[in-house]
């Protein structure tokens, strides 16, 4: 091909260079807006005028400049008469019978030959040696016409025929190649997936937007897929080899700042099951309690993730206990991800990028918890300009700032959040809370530096602190501290490595100051450090490997109590430190067996050693563990191994495509947990104790089988999924009746280990876009535990399976947002959950001369059901570009129905009568207004 000057007025560069990967069409045009320019009326007569002449005439008559490739116009003629017709109509008619298309930007009109059929393959990039076949004669092939900017998610092109139908062609397959350009500016779009809708044929565009796909003879339905662009559907009839260029339009959503239309279709296409991504931007409009945007709270509205109650920290994922979730903030474990007993999450929403939740199919790189992984990633700072975000709500103020350090390479993001005052507590109509105090803050700093395209280093520091009193005589305080360092190195296009070091510390203390001689101070501390090497290797198109090793060292000071004040007669006591080393090696292969079948095969081998120095009790076999059945006390030296546990953890999942947007997945997931949370409260509370497995405490193990069907309806932006799971758990920790956990030197004497089973069906419908968007989730699930033993004392509820503390069979949630205009939107949440089980006192009796209370079977009864409706109204500030700051105001009413949802149920003996009481946290509608700004 040659570079031609097409008109005498304009220099147009149409060039195509052989043997370069630069491609062959390169428009140098600038685009600002497609709409709203003049559309003059012209009058012109063509009588068998060559097309090129016709275009030049039109150009003369208008202010527009035309850009085109002369070759396209050869042998085409126009016969038409136009009297004061609009320019665009004229052009439409001129091109009606051709393969040409046009589009307008500013005062230029670009001709495109999107769907022209010509057998000359694009300048030898892919098929240099391909035989050149004569151009096809089908000049009247239907034009593939791009529509102008449309907010719809997908476009459907008209049918295109490639090649000429020959009566007896030998070939069963033909090659279709071409280029995919951005509709907006005609830049090539790399990494677009071009495939048949049934996925049997598949290609991806290269850096210059070129693709080549082999298609069978006859009708093929093609589609394109790429993040951030509308999906394009194109039907093609293949009669020979040919070329087809396509333009894809960006999603309008991507015009909004930061919104990444997260993995479109990931729900259908990925092999992993039970995975959810929550993007912080998506939750902006969800009504909030007390004005806090809370990514973890939003997670609990998804099926399969529950909390024990309002204001309860900890999550129960698919029938798992609250300690079975690995909550990671930039790869470091955050032990208590909540503030003030769970009312707020401790993760700053402004610095958070995204949250990935794995309920099943936990990637092999993660381990150490049975039920789930919550992977929270802090967003990298802006490397171009200073940016920030802030909010002022009734409880907290929050500010985050992003500062570029080295332009385009390094930046820092920092966020700080704090409460103003203790007034929430003061306003609570709960006598025991009236004189309380509560304060918290958290701060995070992340630095990311891309030294070159192969090396990136990032570091995160996070600290959160809470201090509050629940009764007038005690003050609780707890803190999380995390440090995370990561070096990301790229060896080649195929091979990458991450080296990660993290350290987490969780501490809490209690000060009790009431009775002068019983005042005490209690402290607890957990510290862990992990080193992890993560490698990725794209072995082939079919095999993508990831593997690595990790090792984690734990040190726990499980409690010490000391007298507070001179008068205190409390004796100092300290429980010996626990140490352990948890290591793992893992390997996973993402194996694309065929276009339809994708396997994700992972195995993790984990090992845990409880280490000295320590003393451990050995108990008599077949007797309940108690102080009196200790047969031996073993002493271990520093770093001496007390006991080693371990085993393989299988992480298998498979996806089979039943159609383009329809798949079935199945998975098997085994997990082992060596660290356990001990809590006799129904809900997770800050005074709970994390305990390592040791000589007497086995690790918990779980096997989960899951299966699911996923279906997307592209046109309506709907996603459907139904997932079922069955989980078997062994050595779950529970407690003997009457167990005392804190400051117990022989903790194992209070513990029971039993089997658990959980099963459920989760149903989710999501409408991802449009004026009305949101999701509806329902799950029916059970979580049961069995504590059976030969010994009466170690048997609970007759050794039969009983409902666990967080068994809530019906769970329904609806989260919706309706956009009135670009600036105003309404949102609503509705949640309904079966009340959780409790153990009630059911009678009195006299034993050994004393009155005692008879309790029901463990968790025999349930507290009343939980339901709540929240409404919100969101006002976006105007979208003027040159404003100092963008504002966003959220007005919401929490618990509109004023439902008194029970937070806790307790019993009080009043004049010889036992009366049940429930505490509700927010028993009336709570209005909140929050002002957010962004600059």
């Amino acid at each position: 091909m040659v570079v031609q000057q097409l008109t005498n007025k304009h220099t147009i560069v149409f060039f195509s260079m052989k043997n370069t990967i630069l491609g062959f069409l390169f428009f140098l045009i600038s685009i600002s807006s497609v709409l709203g320019q003049n559309n003059p009326e012209i009058s012109v007569v063509f009588n068998n005028t060559p097309l090129k002449e016709a275009i030049l005439q039109v150009e003369e008559l208008s202010d527009f400049h035309f850009f085109f490739e002369e070759e396209w116009l050869v042998n085409q003629f126009v016969t038409e008469r136009f009297d004061n017709k609009k320019l665009f109509e004229v052009l439409s008619e001129i091109f009606e019978e051709t393969t040409l298309n046009f589009y307008i930007s500013d005062n230029t009109i670009v001709l495109l030959n999107n769907s022209i059929v010509y057998s000359t393959l694009p300048s030898g990039i892919f098929y240099e040696e391909e035989k050149v076949t004569p151009p096809s004669e089908t000049t009247n092939a239907p034009i593939f016409r791009e529509e102008f900017v449309s907010s719809e998610a997908s476009h459907k092109g008209k049918l295109v025929t490639i090649g000429k139908q020959k009566p007896n062609t030998e070939n069963k397959f033909f090659t279709l190649s071409g280029r995919i350009l951005n509709f907006r500016d005609n830049t090539p779009v790399p990494n677009v997936a071009v495939s048949t809708t049934d996925r049997s044929r598949y290609a991806v565009t290269d850096e210059n937007g070129f693709y080549s796909i082999t298609l069978p003879y006859g009708l093929n339905k093609l589609e394109t897929n790429i993040l951030g662009f509308s999906q394009l559907y194109q039907d093609v009839i293949m009669y020979g080899n040919g070329s087809l260029n396509l333009s894809v339009a960006e999603n309008t959503e991507t015009l909004d700042e930061v919104v990444v239309a997260s993995k479109r279709d990931a729900n259908v296409r990925d092999a992993v099951m039970g995975a959810t991504t929550i993007n912080i931007e998506e939750i902006k409009t969800i009504p909030l309690v007390l004005g806090e945007r809370d990514i973890l709270k939003v997670a609990t509205t998804l099926p399969g993730i529950k909390t024990a109650g309002e204001g309860a920290s900890g999550f129960n994922v698919r029938g798992g206990r609250a300690d079975q979730n690995l909550i990671l903030l930039d790869d470091a474990v955050i032990y208590n991800p909540s503030h003030f007993l769970g009312f707020f999450s401790a993760v700053n929403p402004f610095t958070t990028g995204s949250l990935e939740v794995y309920k099943a199919s936990i990637p092999a790189e993660y381990g150490g918890r049975l039920s789930s992984v919550f992977d929270i990633e802090t967003k990298p700072g802006n490397t171009e300009k200073v940016a920030g975000e802030g909010s002022i709500g009734p409880i907290t103020a929050n500010l985050s700032i992003e500062v570029p350090v080295v332009e385009d390479k390094a930046s820092v993001i920092a966020g700080v959040r704090a409460t103003y005052s203790d007034y929430i507590l003061k306003s609570l109509d709960e006598e025991s809370l009236k004189n309380s105090e509560a304060s918290f803050y958290d701060a995070i700093v992340k630095y990311k530096h891309a030294f070159d395209k192969d090396n990136t280093v990032q570091g995160t520091f996070y600290y959160s602190k809470d201090r509050f009193s629940i009764t007038s005589d005690s003050v609780f305080g707890y803190s999380n501290r995390l440090v995370s360092l990561k070096w990301d190195h790229r060896f080649s296009d195929k091979s990458r490595a991450d080296l990660i070091f993290v350290n987490s510390q969780y501490e809490y203390d209690i000060e009790y100051e009431a009775d002068a001689n019983e005042n005490f101070e209690f402290g607890y501390k957990l510290n862990e450090s992990q080193l992890k090497l993560n490698l990725n290797y794209a072995l082939s198109k079919k095999h993508k490997l990831s593997y690595g090793i990790s090792s984690k060292l734990y040190g726990i000071d499980p409690g010490n109590v000391s007298p507070l004040g001179d008068n205190s007669s409390v004796e100092s006591k300290e429980i010996q430190r626990e140490r352990g080393l948890e290591s793992a090696i893992y390997f996973a292969d993402l194996f694309e067996v065929s276009d339809k079948l994708l396997l994700d095969l992972g195995i993790r081998f984990s090992m845990f050693s409880a280490m000295g120095e320590a003393t451990q009790n050995v108990y008599e076999d077949g007797k309940p563990k108690s102080e009196s059945t200790i047969t031996e006390v073993r002493t271990y030296g520093k770093n001496e191994t007390i006991k080693t546990y371990g085993g393989p953890e299988y992480r298998f999942s498979a996806r089979y495509l039943l159609g383009n947007d329809y798949s079935i997945k199945a998975g098997f997931n085994r997990t082992i947990q060596y660290l356990h949370l001990l809590s006799t409260n129904t809900t997770m509370s800050p005074t709970d104790i994390w305990k390592l497995s040791d000589l007497n405490i086995e690790p918990q193990r779980a096997d989960q089988y899951s299966i699911g069907v996923f279906k997307n309806v592209i046109d309506q932006d709907l996603e459907f999924s139904v997932e079922g799971y069955y989980k078997r758990m062994n050595d779950l920790l529970d407690y003997k009746i009457g167990a005392q956990l804190i400051l117990n030197e022989d903790l194992e004497t209070e513990l029971l280990q039993g089997n658990g089973k959980a099963y459920g069906v989760e149903f989710l419908v999501k409408k991802t876009k449009g004026r009305l968007n949101g999701y509806f989730g329902y799950s029916y699930s059970r979580a049961m535990i069995q504590l059976d033993s030969e010994l009466n004392e170690e048997r609970v509820n007759n050794g039969e399976y009983f409902a666990s503390n967080y068994d809530k069979p019906h769970d329904f949630s609806l989260v919706t947002n309706y956009r009135l205009t670009k600036r105003y939107s309404f949102s609503a949440n509705f949640t309904y959950q079966t009340g959780r089980p409790v153990t009630y006192p059911i009678g009195n009796f006299v034993f050994a001369g004393e009155e005692q209370v008879l309790y029901s079977d463990r968790n025999q009864f349930r507290i009343p059901d939980y339901y709540r409706l929240d409404l919100g109204f969101n006002i976006e500030g105007n979208h003027k570009k040159e404003k100092l700051a963008h504002s966003f105001i959220n007005i919401s009413v929490y618990n509109v129905l004023g439902r008194n949802n029970p937070y806790s149920v307790f019993f009080v003996n009043e004049e010889g009568k036992i009366q049940a009481y429930q505490t509700s946290i927010f028993s009336i509608p709570v209005p909140t207004i929050t002002y957010n700004f962004k600059f």
Binding site: N792, N844, L854, F861, S923
Partner: protein, 398 residues
């Protein structure tokens, strides 16, 4: 700035967001559960089985179970029937017997309503004598008092679990013994005059009260402590406790327990104890070793155990510890009233009226009669049999 004001305004309107309210708990059908408490021992005596019922939460517990058929059978073929004792409602064996080693015993209960319960087989835990029962003056929780300690050991290591009960007997000496009765007669309501009639009687000055321990007192040995119980405090008596005012005696009873029995008692005890900030127990139904025949899921509370029993009695007086004399059980106001004083206008009570009122309505007794002066005091301070017994126990030694 304006926006901040708006925020603050809204903040100010948030009031009363939380509440506590009573709720109707999910209909919990009151289930009358049988409560069994029985320890048969190696002491030859009529053995005891206590049967009662749980009561609804809003009523006091401890209703006796009447008209049950209670038997204990031994693996050696022996069978002992029990009968309900009229006053206490407890069941005693018709014949005295003792549990012997090597024989396993089973308790069977047929209730009036036709329910059948049986215990698992129990054998007597090995006998261990108490080495020593002794007292010491100690300070506990900032309070001075006398603690009764037990030392015990089983060199064989077979007996590890011990439960204690005690029976304390103390002498009560009335501070103002009365040798006269007093009564008011011929009262004239108009004039306020009356006759005081006195007559001599045998003064009840010295009595003996016996009280039984309540609650669960237990301990255990471990191999680590050489199977010893050392200085186990069975009873702590604060120095100002009136039981120490005169001579005091305590009978400490030791029952050896099986691990199952000990565990049951321990859990019951823990569930009943007051919770503190750092200790919140897991509540639940505590199964014992009694079950309903044919219906293992039916709730029944209690334990049947066979236990070796030993006891030891000690005596002591407060003077032995150099303590001050503790106060009497109640405050004894000693009144001297003048019958002639019949007016309150002299800024002094109408003593004639006071005398009549206190004697007739508050049961004050006459200590000294010296007409027109009458010395009166509360009945507890004058007649010890008003709350104690004048029967000197057989075992009592002064």
């Amino acid at each position: 700035m304006k926006r901040i004001y708006i925020v603050l305004l809204v903040v100010a309107t948030i009031i009363q967001t939380s509440c506590t309210e009573s709720i109707e708990i999910e209909t919990i059908d009151y289930e009358s559960v049988l409560v069994v408490e029985s320890t048969i021992t190696n002491e030859l005596k009529p053995q005891l089985v206590k049967l009662s019922r749980t009561s609804p939460l809003n009523e006091p517990g401890g209703f006796k179970e009447h008209n049950a058929t209670v038997t204990v059978s031994g693996s050696d073929g022996t069978l002992f029937s029990f009968s309900e004792e009229g006053t206490t409602g407890d069941y005693y064996s018709n014949a005295a017997f003792q549990a012997v080693p090597g024989v396993s015993y089973t308790l069977e209960i047929d209730t009036q309503s036709g329910e059948k319960y049986t215990s698992s087989e129990v054998v007597i835990a090995p006998a261990v004598a108490m080495d020593n029962v002794y007292t010491e003056l100690i300070t506990k929780d900032g309070e001075q008092g006398i603690s009764v300690f037990v030392d015990t050991q089983d060199p064989t290591g077979n007996a590890k679990y011990f439960r204690y009960e005690y029976e304390e007997t103390y002498k009560v000496v009335a501070p103002f013994p009365s040798s006269l009765t007093i009564s008011i007669e011929n009262f004239n309501a108009q004039t306020g005059t009356y006759d005081v009639v006195t007559s001599p009687r045998e003064p009840e000055e010295v009595c003996y009260s016996t009280e039984f321990s309540t609650g669960i007192i237990q301990t255990s040995t471990t191999e680590l402590t050489d199977n010893q119980v050392l200085r186990f405090p069975v009873r702590f008596i604060p120095a100002d406790n009136s039981v120490l005012r005169s001579r005091y005696s305590i009978l400490v009873k030791q029952y050896t327990q099986s691990i199952e029995a000990a565990t049951f008692y321990k859990i019951i005890n823990e569930l009943g104890s007051v919770e503190s900030l750092l200790s919140q127990g897991q509540p639940g139904y505590v199964p014992g070793n009694i079950s309903a025949v044919g219906d293992p899921s039916k709730k029944v509370i209690g334990f049947f155990e066979a236990s070796s029993f030993t006891s030891e009695r000690i005596y002591f007086n407060y003077e032995d510890f150099g303590l001050e004399i503790p106060p009497f059980f109640i405050e004894c106001d000693y009144l001297i009233l003048d019958y002639r004083d019949n007016t309150a206008l002299d800024n002094d009570p109408n003593e004639r009226d006071v005398l009549r009122t206190y004697v007739n309505f508050f049961d004050y007794q006459l200590v000294v009669s010296n007409d027109p002066f009458y010395h009166i005091a509360k009945i507890e301070c004058t007649v010890c049999t008003s709350f104690s017994s004048n029967v000197r126990p057989d075992f009592w030694t002064d």
